[in-house]
Symmetry: C2
Subunit: 116 residues, 2 copies
């Protein structure tokens, strides 16, 4: 029976070598290597994080902020390399979510079962 | 090279068969089999979740609620089988956090590296 840590390191290697991760890595490095694209992407991320923090703290988000966020999203979506990066992120996210669901199944079964 | 899903299922099996998970399972089933212990544990969990939800929604927590929560915690800590269950949960949590840190390393390295 494989040890949990050994299995975790095997999974880490499998993620690192996966098509999905390698695709994301390449897309990310392409954007980061382009000064203008990098700035646009950083602005996008900053705007996203600011809005998320406000939401989490229950602060009101103004119409102006929603409009600004909408414009930033539109801008990055029109940028081929950034929109590719976002697609690659989505793609890896799907797999990571699957993986996460698989490995949390024992706990879910344990706590789910006795509640009925 | 192992596939991500195969590796994830291997890890799931390793978690399920681990001493930590089996210890938790046994502790959980022991508490659930005892009507009184089960009720005490359910009350404790309910109180915890209520307070967490209030905090997350930015609602004020009254002194009365803090005091009630404190009493519930004290009660479960004095219950041998429930406190054992909580210890087993902590124990598995440590391993799950380690595992989670291991498998998110590729992403952390990717996003961490280019920010410097
Ligand atoms: Ca049951
Ligand atoms: Ca760098």
């Amino acid at each position: 029976m494989a040890n949990m840590y050994d299995s975790a390191y095997d999974l880490e290697k499998a993620i690192r070598n996966s098509e999905e991760f390698q695709g994301l890595k390449q897309a990310y490095e392409t954007v980061m290597a382009d000064e203008q694209a990098k700035k646009m992407f950083d602005d996008f991320r900053k705007t996203q994080i600011e809005l998320q923090e406000k939401q989490m703290q229950g602060q009101e988000i103004t119409e102006e902020e929603v409009e600004k966020a909408r414009q930033v999203v539109e801008l990055v979506q029109q940028h081929e390399q950034i929109s590719n990066l976002m697609e690659q992120e989505q793609r890896l996210n799907v797999v990571i979510n699957d993986v996460s669901r698989i490995i949390t199944k024992p706990l879910e079964e344990l706590y789910g079962d006795t509640e009925q």
